[in-house]
Subunit: 251 residues, 2 copies
């Protein structure tokens, strides 16, 4: 096992950063890494927005309901972006496009998300910590408004990085037999009884992390989440439509 | 700059692998890296399928229209998976769920895609080459049938890895000013005239790579792709609906 893989196997989300400033050259390098990620059909259908305005950062922290986002660290928002490609076409006298359809929407999501993880790995290799923020979708419309995101763009994930100011425990992951299959999907059911030991491990993890945090097993966490869709997250499909995505198959 | 970032900045897609066998322990390590990727709300909403059956591999190569996929190398298919979580709920006497909605679908896509890139980086750190295969969606329904993918799952990306048997050129990426913005989306328009030097660079890249391959600029490639949705890719939204995803907002 090499050092890179060792780091990946010991990945922990870091949510508290020291006041140590991240050099501009480091941010620049991270954006370069993002740019060099594999991209579907070479369309490079994503963009990155750095949030340097403290007020904007505070607004995004409020949306994500993660107060630490407003604190130290650099905040990126990764955007699925077919707008740029549509504009290129329009400037070349081809105003019509089908980039809002599921096909090109999924490609843009993939481009943006692959780039997020590439950036995470690069940041961690430099001793930085990172937290991926799906929580920006708590109010996607407000993110769209705050960042002036045009049609055919969508905010996919936030990413905050900084010098770690905490040392969280490792979070035990689902045993491999429940997530790695051979030649076809083969979930070994019933699952819950087989997850007893894993549930105990997860329970233990939370137990140790934060005394006043709700302790719960993995299966209980899953069960609770199945019906839990906060009001504004229940509007995501409508917002995707408003951005011009997924309106119809070959749009 | 450290070795990891140097590797990331010199990323190239590798599509030809030698006959050298990848040890089973290496595959195991890569799956472990995938498992340890950040996951939305700790729901771990993805699965990985290893394709070891040569006939199945050939079928997937045909779907992806990339004949090299049938050759040497190990083939993974990454699955957005809310089925497992739905089953956990059902086994715990909660048969209802809202995991088919846009909210949990986007989370599952993110989980699967972040794991793909983490695996790519790990593989490259071990001297392996990788190709991310969005092309499995050329016929998503056939992939679903071949891999017996149940409701609330969806094939996101393929990933083939192996020992490199080629040394492709580096593919020049879009200049940063067109994809990295500060505090809001600010595309410097008009773009096409500003992309002249980049277009020339891309043109040059193709020129050198393969004598009988169509030479084209970036903007021409984008323009051509804007209206190009192969027939079965135009059915992706219908297939997503059939898998139980995106049917309505809070489903």
């Amino acid at each position: 096992m090499n050092a890179e893989i060792d780091r990946q196997l010991h990945h922990r989300t870091i949510r508290a950063f020291t006041t140590q400033e991240i050099p501009a050259t480091t941010i620049d390098t991270l954006v370069d890494v993002a740019r060099h990620t594999a991209t579907s059909e070479f369309l490079q259908a994503f963009s990155v927005i750095s949030i340097t305005d403290p007020q904007l950062k505070t607004a995004i922290a409020q949306i994500s309901k993660q107060p630490y986002v407003a604190n130290n660290g650099h905040l990126f928002i990764f955007i699925a972006d077919q707008h740029r490609n549509a504009i290129i076409g329009a400037e070349m006298n081809q105003p019509e496009n089908k980039v809002g359809g599921a096909n090109k929407f999924l490609a843009a999501l993939a481009d943006a998300t692959l780039a997020v993880q590439n950036t995470v790995v690069a940041a961690e290799s430099m001793g930085l910590g990172a937290v991926v923020l799906g929580s920006i979708l708590n109010d996607a419309q407000q993110i769209i408004d705050l960042l002036h995101l045009p049609e055919l763009t969508f905010p996919v994930l936030g990413l905050a990085i900084g010098y770690p100011d905490q040392e969280p425990q490792y979070k035990p992951r689902l045993p491999k037999k429940f997530m790695h299959f051979e030649n076809g999907y083969q979930l070994p059911e019933p699952i819950v009884p087989q997850l007893k030991a894993y549930d105990a491990e997860v329970h233990d993890y939370y137990d140790l992390r934060e005394a006043n945090r709700r302790v719960d097993t993995f299966t209980n966490q899953v069960k609770r989440s199945l019906l839990n869709v906060p009001e504004k997250r229940a509007q995501l499909l409508t917002i995707l439509h408003q951005q011009g995505f997924l309106i119809e198959d070959d749009h």
